[in-house]
Symmetry: C2
């Protein structure tokens, strides 16, 4: 078998994003045991920094030992029991995924939809809550990775809480790129991933749960259907008791620790402004060059921009050329948008001025070659 | 927040084991995307090498995106539907865990037990099969990490297949240390972890499924209760279709690729002999020094040795001294063995002659200090 090669890739897709060299170094740190006193220090530091980035005081704030989708599943398996009514907002792939995951937990799911590229209308959620009696949980995606739509949360949260439901938010592509503000936005359950705006490799899913969510877990009548994602047990390992549950992905926790440290050293406000500035610039440049953005105006994520490919172009071939000639990875469209859009991520360490210029130059060149 | 430190630890516990420097380097390889053509090559190579180490031709052989317990859960959520009858062999913590996981899938579980430190008697499995009508699956642990017991598989497998059941084996601590021989042993479902004898960091769980197991999954009447671990979908990403499911833990796959390459370069037979020789030597040295081994003679794992601490000694304090003075980590007892045994791992890169000598010397010193 051939030895592993290092490839020269610029990751400008919907994730993973480029990883800071110091985070790569952390990945290569010699291991310590998952019950080593030093690892407990690293765990505590990681949790403290995660709370800051999530904007929460939630005690139950930990990175789950799987990628973002494991975080999604964590929220549903822990909060939902068979028969529970759940409203899932669907305006892209990740809303659809939440619906699938919730149903596998035995939830009775009511969908609130919007066209892909549009945000969810809070009034539609209100109507669904009024029509459906006791709803346990309303779930929404803050940063829809399949479309680049940014979902405002405050008004939705108020409506959800007026109706006594728990509020769950997918912040996989949001966390570390735009404010999530878990406490201020009244979010009860929130999950993310390490490989987007946190700029660590994929492999962990930060999750945070409010006191109300923790109470809901305590009041369960049935066991959580997943042993691996059972927060009741995992919290005993990440908390003071340090009960062994499963062997934590130690190197990934090292990497997340360093990624969070670098992010907080830059300062949350500076990080958000950098994402905002570079994202806006890319979107302006794309529009000036005649491209149509997918996400509705006023609801565009700075860290992920979806734009329509001119008709008649071969999406796969163009992306292959971009990769082969420039080493640049961008994402194609998912589901109904397959072949129609490109998704360009300026996330975390990938979000800088040079990457905007480079991408626009490379895009023009590739299009010229395919005229 | 303080920067991450590198600690000087010698990992001689029940896992994680020491990681080869070239595998640590692989962890720091700059990322490529999870849909990058080069990553597909790495995935294919990893699967091919996993098949060699598992001793199987199974097409469905992939590393799941979680630690060993996620592999355990993968086997049960995919093979079990509510009401299915399952026999779980329990002679340690990981047998108990399998029972818990199986029950969370709605299985009706029949236990076959043996005292901790003893292997499971195949006749007991035969009796349980004869008594319980149609059993779908029999599950057993090949290398019980809580006791150091090695379970012979061949006879059990024959009994299981005579009764038309599927045979599932936990090889978390076995794979890469002793032969698992999936095809030769008629194993239908097998899972492992990266942080034991494969000597990669924790974070992936290699899983392999026989054609019969794949058929059983195809014949399911209900959806797999875990979206994250649904092999039907994940196989489409690791197979030729390359359908996006979740973002693979790319760096961990890099590390596993290199760990497997190093292992196979040494040669499976050489690797097994190294584990056998060093494990036997450690066990002889311990016995010569007057320690009692926990596992029954003839059923001792070379890669993990459990021995009884002399009575009246403070387990926690002694292990803390071993860590502080020597940087050596070993494991304590779990469950009913808490405070009574130490578990010493000579797994993968940790299995060498120097570590046997060093551990024996350090142990004597610590005991002398605590006389």
């Amino acid at each position: 078998m051939k030895q592993l090669q290092s490839m020269n890739r610029l990751l400008l897709g919907p994730g993973p994003s480029a990883v800071h060299p110091d985070v790569l170094k952390a990945m290569a740190t010699p291991l310590v045991g998952h019950l080593d006193p030093y690892f407990f220090e690293v765990m505590n530091g990681t949790r403290e920094m995660l709370r800051t980035v999530f904007g929460t005081k939630n005690e139950l704030t930990i990175p789950m030992s799987g990628t973002g989708s494991a975080g999604m599943e964590t929220v549903f398996v822990n909060l939902i029991e068979p028969g529970d009514k759940v409203i899932v907002c669907v305006n892209g792939v990740f809303g659809e995924r939440m619906k699938d995951v919730a149903e596998r937990c035995g939830a009775s799911v009511v969908e609130v939809t919007a066209p892909w590229g549009q945000p969810i209308d809070p009034d539609e959620i209100r109507k669904a809550l009024e029509k459906n009696g006791q709803v346990k949980l309303v779930a929404i995606v803050q940063a829809e990775t399949s479309t680049g739509v940014r979902q405002p949360l405050k008004e939705v949260s108020e409506i959800v809480h007026e109706h006594g439901a728990l509020f769950a938010v997918d912040s996989v592509t949001a966390l570390g790129g735009i404010p999530v503000d878990v406490d201020e936005n009244g979010i009860d359950a929130c999950y993310s991933g390490t490989q987007k705006c946190l700029s660590a490799p994929p492999g962990l899913s930060p999750v945070t749960m409010s006191d109300d969510a923790v109470q809901a877990i305590r009041k369960r009548k049935t066991k959580v259907q997943s042993w691996y994602l059972d927060l009741g047990m995992i919290a005993n390992y990440w908390g003071e008791d340090r009960f062994y549950h499963h062997t934590a992905p130690i190197s990934m926790v090292f990497a997340l620790h360093e990624a969070l440290r670098i992010l907080l050293n830059e300062g949350l406000e500076n990080v958000y402004k950098r994402h905002e500035d570079n994202g806006k610039l890319l979107q302006q440049e794309l529009q000036s060059a005649g491209f149509e953005l997918l996400a509705a105006e006023g609801y565009r994520l700075p860290q992920l921009t979806a734009f329509r490919l001119p008709q008649g172009l071969d999406d796969i071939r163009l992306r292959r050329e971009l990769l082969n000639l420039y080493g640049i990875e961008v994402g194609g469209g998912l589901g109904p948008l397959k072949g129609q859009i490109w998704r360009v991520g300026l996330m975390g360490h990938s979000s800088n001025l040079a990457n905007v210029r480079l991408f626009m130059g490379a895009l023009q060149d590739i299009l010229n070659r395919n005229k």
